[in-house]
Symmetry: C2
Subunit: 792 residues, 2 copies
């Protein structure tokens, strides 16, 4: 039996923000953090609702400089609902330790339940059972059902429900000096006795946000029901007659529309219409549960034991952040999901860890997320042109309009200093976009996209790399200078007056791969389409020749048989890892430690996270060897093994992605030590290994990466155009699992690993046989049949 619940017993204010993050509910369109709605705290502590892709820009002053920042907007909070005996004080777990407290996230049903027994100052006790959903069928709805049972008393119960537009982005402590107020132009009102509404817009981007809330009380209607529209919030006060031991239920149903929604007129009209037509809680729960059942079926991943439970939580967060509803929106993959304010909701490269998973379950969502990048190709081309280059330079951090949103300063909380931030030099984000386009098309066979928007985006990214590469006649190699790789510890050479490092191996090898795929694509494109595309982007016929040349002659530095992270890496001294571990314990953020000491991590052979080793994450061994071979650098198993060993000993894992990548690389090489890293990746968020970062938002890339680790790393699955390739490399601790994937026209391919055997099944409703390639063998599996294979 799978355990589908994520449960907390007891109420501990120190843990509530972490629990909130992990118990966030969403549906791809908006998400609501798992806050205690009846709490008496201010809104800054209980940010409620985030809409996907709804950004707003504010100007603040920090460290004497004016900084502009764009945030994923914290929308009005729909959760507030509190209650008290008439004349008493509010029942809240924050005021008095609850007599009992239990919080259960039901992953299967996408439902959060809280059961409490609360006591007020006069000793009155109330039992509370509260269920909450953010609706997965109708993505504009959310609902909160609160059953209240007085214990040992009868009388009048006051209930106060609200829609609260007086909210700020204040969930990340180090951002609190920045202006966090994004909502303006509030209007509130009521329709009849049971429905209230709040209308507002984002301050600078002008997105209208309208919310309507309907409250119903069972079994008897309320004694009184008084909507009280206010300037920033609308409060709905109800008086209920309650009797000892007899439960009353308050159902709050909320509809949310923004001016970015398709198929509506005015957002407020749409919200009012929608809430008026919404079913009651049990009806909503039924359709919501069905929708979740369908999602789980599309993304079946059955892994035994504790790991399986954590993977289900990760899958839950991935599915509710990037659900089928995402496909209709203009949104990207936010690094911290939809519920965390860290990184301001920006889009980085995390999709590199997310899309390969989604490609095999929800290809329409992958395609939409790629479409988000394609729609911002113009912005990326403008950025490249401003940097003096052809092609497209995708931003390291971005939001609504695709421009670079990376901060120019960041705070080292350890030293208190605001420091220059060069991370916008992580131009490798473009290769991540290109990689995902290619992988998606391999998995889906979607030539409409590949030859359409996909082609233009991929070509412009390739073009940027070819144009960025400088020919070095002395070395007879192309070089890419002044960039940052994924490892953010190295943003400049020690003492250098310009930021960036040269010939980052990750950047150059992925760029070579992108160029080679662009050339493949040019050969594959229908002739008219190729002509059209070349004319459209004004491609010089000589450019593909340059791409060919650059793709074969980009420089990759080596030292002592090891791929160097960048040019000059070999010259850096070693760090006294043991010494720092002894002195500081947790040295994940070694950069901050050294900066606070007046030193710089740029000086050492020390990595925050996987950089060179990312290559082993992106490319299966044979593809990686071929890629190095094309570049004229032989890469045999021994050399790769030496490289892995080198970086294993020199990485602090300051990113949640690092454990994942190390685990992946070691697992693919069937090496010991993989599980330790995989385990770290699995527990990164649930145990908040980065110390406080999870409560600022879960790490979506790392979560999705653990799913893909099971799906692609442990199975060796590669969905190629000619066959589904498999090459299982199970870990002893993860050797028994079942998953289903959708691969091209095959909607239901089941993979089952266990007892040293691999089963592959094809649904009887799939139209054609499945071709599988495994260890040199090619198998054809007919629809409605399965094959079980012994692993080598």
């Amino acid at each position: 039996m799978r355990d589908w619940t994520w449960r907390y017993e007891g109420y501990d204010p120190r843990h509530e923000r972490l629990r909130e993050a992990l118990c966030t509910l969403g549906n791809g369109r908006f998400a609501t953090r798992g806050a205690a709605p009846e709490a008496a705290r201010g809104p800054a502590h209980y940010p409620g609702t985030y809409a996907a892709g709804c950004y707003d820009r504010l100007v603040s002053s920090v460290a004497g400089r004016e900084v502009e920042n764009e945030d994923l907007v914290n929308l009005p909070n729909w959760l507030p609902l509190r209650f008290r005996a008439a004349g008493g004080d509010w029942f809240t777990p924050d005021a008095r330790v609850p007599l009992a407290y239990e919080q259960v996230l039901d992953l299967r049903r996408g439902r959060l339940t809280r059961r409490m027994r609360l006591c007020d100052g006069a000793g009155r006790v109330i039992a509370v059972e509260q269920r909450r959903i953010v609706h997965m069928r109708d993505p504009h709805l959310a609902a909160l059902s609160t059953r209240l049972t007085p214990e040992g008393w009868s009388g009048e119960l006051e209930v106060e429900s609200a829609l609260d537009g007086d909210v700020t982005n204040a969930g990340v402590e180090r951002y609190r000096d920045l202006d966090g107020r994004h909502l303006t132009g509030h209007a509130t009102g009521a329709v009849g006795p049971a429905t209230v509404w709040l209308d507002c817009r984002t301050a600078s981007s002008g997105v209208r946000v309208a919310m309507a809330a309907r409250v119903r009380v069972r079994p008897e209607p309320p004694l009184t029901s008084s909507p009280e529209p206010g300037p920033l919030a609308v409060v709905h006060r109800l008086a209920l007659a309650v009797t000892d031991g007899r439960p009353v239920t308050v159902e709050k149903t909320v509809a949310l529309h923004t001016s970015r929604d398709p198929a509506i007129g005015d957002p407020l009209d749409a919200a009012l219409d929608r809430v008026a037509g919404a079913a009651d809680f049990s009806g909503l729960l039924a359709s919501h549960t069905t929708a979740w059942a369908h999602l789980w079926r599309r993304a079946e991943l059955d892994v035994a034991n504790r790991a399986g439970k954590v993977l289900r939580l990760h899958l839950f967060h991935v599915l509710q952040t990037l659900s089928p509803h995402t496909a209709g929106l203009d949104v990207g993959v936010p690094a911290r999901g939809l519920h965390g304010e860290a990184y301001r909701g920006h889009v980085f490269w995390d999709e590199l860890f997310v899309l390969p998973y989604l490609d095999l379950h929800l290809p329409e969502v992958s395609r939409a997320l790629l479409g988000y990048r394609c729609r911002r190709l113009g912005a990326a081309c403008r950025a490249a042109a401003e940097a003096g280059h052809k092609g497209a330079m995708y931003p390291w951090q971005s939001g609504s309009d695709g421009r670079e949103e990376t901060q120019l300063l960041h705070l080292n909380p350890r030293s208190g200093r605001w420091l220059p931030d060069h991370s916008r030099l992580q131009q490798h984000v473009g290769s991540a976009v290109a990689y995902n386009i290619w992988r998606y098309c391999e998995a889906s066979g979607d030539t409409g996209f590949l030859y359409g928007d996909g082609a233009e985006t991929l070509l412009q990214i390739a073009r940027f790399w070819a144009d960025s590469a400088l020919w070095d006649p002395a070395r007879e190699r192309y070089r890419i200078l002044g960039v940052m790789g994924p490892d953010e510890y190295h943003d400049a050479y020690p003492g250098a007056d310009r930021p960036g490092i040269d010939d980052n191996a990750y950047t150059n090898v992925t760029a070579a791969w992108v160029l080679a795929r662009a050339l493949d694509l040019c050969r594959a494109l229908p002739r008219h389409r190729r002509d059209e595309l070349f004319e459209r982007v004004a491609l010089d016929p000589a450019e593909p020749e340059l791409w060919e040349d650059v793709s074969r002659r980009l420089r990759v530095p080596f030292h002592q048989g090891v791929i160097s992270q960048f040019d000059g890496y070999a010259d850096l001294p070693a760090l006294d890892w043991d010494g720092y571990r002894r002195r500081y314990g947790d040295i994940r953020r070694l950069d901050r430690i050294l900066e606070a000491e007046g030193d710089s991590v740029n000086r050492y052979q020390a990595s925050k996270q996987a950089d060179v080793l990312m290559l082993g994450y992106l490319f299966p061994p044979d593809e990686l060897a071929a890629l190095f071979g094309r570049l004229g650098y032989p890469l045999d198993d021994a050399r790769w093994r030496t490289t892995v060993d080198h970086y294993l000993a020199r990485t602090s894992h300051g990113s949640t992605l690092s454990g994942l990548v190390h685990g992946w690389v070691l697992a693919r090489a069937r090496r010991a030590g993989a599980w330790r890293h995989v385990h770290e990746a699995l527990t990164g968020d649930v145990a908040d290994l980065q110390g406080g970062t999870t409560e600022e938002g879960i790490h979506l890339g790392a979560m999705a990466g653990t799913l893909d680790l099971v799906q692609r790393c442990l199975t060796g699955l590669e969905p190629r155009s000619d066959a589904l390739r498999l090459d299982p490399a199970p870990l002893p601790q993860l050797s028994d699992f079942t998953l289903t994937v959708r691969y091209r026209d095959h909607w239901d391919v089941t993979l089952r690993l266990g007892s040293g055997r691999l089963g592959v099944g094809v649904s009887e409703s799939d139209g054609s046989p499945l071709t599988v390639r495994l260890g040199g063998r090619t198998l054809t599996i007919a629809p409605g049949t399965a094959r079980t294979l012994d692993l080598p």
Copy 2:
């Protein structure tokens, strides 16, 4: 040589509105009517710019009743640009007959050029050459280049450019009693000396609309440049020194963004950024021309002579209303394009005449237009539920949110009476949606869509028909009661107290077809997907059994060997057609004539437009015969021929679609008389055959239908999953043409008809051979080869 121009010589105020309509420019996102920007008339005469899918709702009072109407919004006019000698009066063709006037629409380049010699009151002459584009590469841009050459004088020239937000929807005379003012909240301003902006929003739907205009003067900068922001418009005044015989050029470049645009923050910021980064006119013209060249290549249709020229104009309008830019928008197929105010920009069933054409050229646009319907499935299901039915009832007229927008009253201009309008009973629009889903998927092979949103929409439409059908035990047939067919002359039985007619043959036969396709689809769906879908829509397992039964036993009435248009049609008296033709001449709007006489067209065997004969338009002869066979009604060639003859003699062709359908049906049957109808369809708009309706907006469905007539009717082309079927039936007047289509994975299939032979060519870059079925033969055509076949 093809003639790519549409040219008017001389200026005639009586014809200007028709010329405006036919010379509209657009790019899928917005369109600008061909108005004379330098005219001194009020804005009501020169509505400027329509944005696709931007609707707004107003409440007016008419005939003592409050009516609500939703219009496609006439956005601020960006065209105004006028000029005069300092102290003189404005040069305008409206004030004084121009010395010369020529207006040329260059279809190939999507460019409108006007050359004029104008004279002011003081006898000063100025030569004007004005070129205008609505940009096809960057759909947010438009530009107007005006070259002014004083003849015989020198001095100061005043130029006044404006962005005019003081606009109304007033282009249709009979709507002028209705409130037409959709813009509010205007703000205006300037950035530097060369750029002005206007920001506003639609009154009830609250869509922000921002426009920025940059003006540059060549060869010398202006003497003075004064932006003058006003309350509803911003005017930009320039003073230029001009010399006799020396041209000066004023380039006005405009950017338009609305709050519905993806990939932007604030629309005004986006518009200002975009216009600041825009190239000069020659650069814009070059990229625009390239984009048009690509469109023409995708939709190659080379037909000789005058017919070919008209078809190019039709294709131009189709491509600029539904361009690749449409694919990124939430818009439907507006009956009158984007430039006409008639029908208030509403979406009817015209897509039935448009998508089968687009499917074979711009399948991504077809898919997006189907997505528009899928996104409004919820509204269609609510409408069905309110009518007491399961499934989806798509609205006859709709706009932003998918609800029914059909007017409840319409005006008979002949009698001056406002009459009840029952046309919302045209429930057959749902079958048009289902038909297009199926045909699109046949042409494209897009199972992702077919099994995804397409399946749910198609099933819900089928479900509505099954639930609407009533079992008549006496007849042992299902019946559909109280509807209207496409023929709007019959909206009730004479003297009946309820609207609608029963067993409309078109409705019932298409409903049976939809039910049969829904059953096909249920069999084809991958098992999990089918289960998911059935659960999602709570489909009772017994329902498909009912669909099967209804699809075989829907009633189709017959009389005297003829398919009856509806039950009881046979009992209606004949009309004295010759008498009415004698008395009224043009009897296209026979309904208005009879109503004005106190009679009703409901009383007669008289049709406004094809209804039964539409079946011959939708279904090739074998498919139609099979469909009737499935229903238990043998339909042989003789019976169909008798049916065609019957309705040929009883149709007034009050719709532009009617000639098209009659021509199609006769051409497919290789019968004489086809050309007369085809010719009527070809000239419907260019000669404004309906008398004044074209200036209220071109007829997009009829235009696209004429293209499809060449593409599918004259070739007998049917893109099926197993083969491209062909069965040419050229008309003597249309027997020589070339076209290219995109069919599934074949991006470039060329069909060439001429001299009694058919050539089929497959591009060498197409990956796989093409299977063609022609007259019982199956041919395989390898990539890079062509076959020429003698026609039977």
